[in-house]
């Protein structure tokens, strides 16, 4: 517990020194304000009202993407600086370090996701769907972060990957524009599942549960596999 406290204290100092962390707190808020106040104006202007579900699912995916990439960049820097080797020999351990680094973007995503769904989203979801979307989103930021650090050997590869991984936020467009049985192929990507909850026709309890549970399972699968890979890689 004490070791975690030291990390938090270090991060607080870091926020002061490295303003990007502050931006990671402000960035999603700006996004939420944009969706709340500017998006309705734009949809009215260009008659995009029919695409509200699509836009809602696209913008909410930007929250875990932003937070995940930032956490990933922190870890890439710390690994290139050999900091992770230091953490590994403290009581925190490498697993503890990983957990801490992944928890923060996850928790922040839940917070921002909640504000987004309750206050900014152009479409209102039923309560069960909101819950399922939040659970999946909370795992998405860690997945994106893990993807960067588990695959990339150094920060430049991480940068390149961040460019590629950003494309997953366009998965809602696949769901929307590719016809019904075929768009399920997008299901191998985690972002497919929360977006699907925004885009299914009608409200069916069983449909939501099916998508939510299967989606959450796929998220967990990614987290476990990528964590293993990361821990192996930094040995």
């Amino acid at each position: 517990m004490k070791s975690v406290f030291h990390l938090i204290k270090g991060d607080m100092k870091q926020i002061y020194r490295d303003p990007m962390l502050l931006i990671s707190l402000i960035g999603p808020l700006l996004l939420i304000l944009l969706v709340r106040f500017i998006l309705p104006f734009a949809t009215a202007q260009f008659a995009l009202g029919a695409y509200n579900g699509l836009l809602a699912s696209f913008f909410i995916l930007l929250i875990p993407l932003l937070l995940g990439i930032m956490a990933g960049f922190i870890m890439l820097d710390e690994r290139d600086d050999k900091m992770i080797d230091y953490f590994a020999v403290t009581p925190l351990s490498k697993q503890g370090y990983l957990l801490y680094r992944l928890l923060l973007p996850g928790v922040l995503t839940v917070l921002y996701g909640y504000i987004y769904l309750e206050w900014a989203s152009p479409v209102a979801l039923p309560i069960l769907d909101k819950l399922l979307v939040t659970v999946m989103l909370a795992m998405e930021a860690p997945i994106i972060c893990l993807f960067l650090v588990a695959i990339a050997a150094n920060k430049i590869e991480g940068l390149a990957l961040s460019k590629g991984v950003g494309l997953v936020v366009f998965v809602p467009f696949i769901i929307y524009f590719v016809s019904e049985p075929w768009n399920w192929a997008g299901g191998i990507l985690p972002t497919f599942w929360p977006a699907k909850l925004f885009l299914i026709e009608g409200v069916h309890l069983m449909n939501s549960l099916f998508i939510g549970v299967l989606g959450a399972g796929i998220h967990i699968f990614y987290i476990i596999q990528l964590s293993k890979r990361f821990l192996r890689k930094t040995d």
Binding site: D80, K155, I156, L159
Partner: protein, 235 residues
């Protein structure tokens, strides 16, 4: 033969770290996306995408490349050798510009076909990328972390992005003084003809800003890297 060797080595590094692979994927995405956009908006989207992605990709990656070389302590020792700072800056900028020009060309001909104005278009991408990469290098030597670089670079580059507002219909005569105006004009020559004067203005503008960026980046490099290294400080 020092410069060609350094230049080829930079390209090799970028290839090995996945920049070319990621840009194959990103280009494919843009090609598909541009084909989906209604024809009346496709041209403006093409200009915007060419500028904001392949055009300035060097700005995005130079941060990672410089930070990684700082980590690996390459920069402390590199300039003890006859290798000059000027050569270093040019080699980095030119190598990233190769990727810019290549991807812009591929995206353009895949979506809009081959037109006889492409030479001017590619000159535009070339000069845009050279300016932004050299400018990014000047920012990168001031930073110690990736997130720090992206924060600082977004502050530094904000003013250069102002002319993008003309896409929304906002314009200002002072934008004429920024290199971005020239960049957008030259890039738009791939879609419709521009006057000779517009072409001359754009090239002169981008070249002048390129020279300013180079002088600034070189000075920053001496102040932030060489002087510190010669005083025996760690970077």
């Amino acid at each position: 033969m020092r410069f060609p060797a350094a230049f080829l080595y930079d390209i090799k590094i970028q290839f090995r770290h996945g920049l070319y692979a990621v840009y194959m994927l990103v280009s494919l995405f843009y090609i598909i996306a541009l084909h989906q956009i209604p024809e009346q908006y496709r041209e403006i989207a093409g200009i915007f995408i060419t500028f904001s992605d392949p055009g300035v990709l060097g700005f995005f990656f130079i941060g990672g490349l410089v930070l990684l070389e700082q980590n690996q302590n390459i920069l402390d020792n590199l300039f003890i050798t006859p290798y000059k700072v000027e050569e270093y800056i040019f080699s980095k900028a030119l190598s990233l510009t190769v990727l810019s020009v290549l991807t812009s060309y591929i995206i353009h001909i895949s979506v809009f076909g081959v037109s006889h104005y492409l030479v001017l278009f590619l000159v535009g991408v070339f000069l845009t990328s050279m300016f932004f990469t050299i400018f990014g290098l000047g920012v990168a030597v001031r930073c110690h972390t990736l997130n720090g670089f992206f924060f600082l670079s977004s502050i530094y580059s904000l003013i250069f992005l102002l002319p993008l507002l003309e896409i929304t219909g906002m314009d200002h005569f002072l934008f004429m003084l920024l290199p971005t105006k020239g960049a957008l004009l030259l890039i738009s020559s791939g879609f419709h003809s521009i006057t000779t004067w517009e072409a001359i203005y754009s090239v002169v503008m981008l070249l002048s800003w390129g020279v300013i960026a180079f002088i600034w980046a070189r000075k920053s490099f001496y102040n932030m890297i060489i002087r510190k290294a010669s005083e025996g400080k760690t970077l």
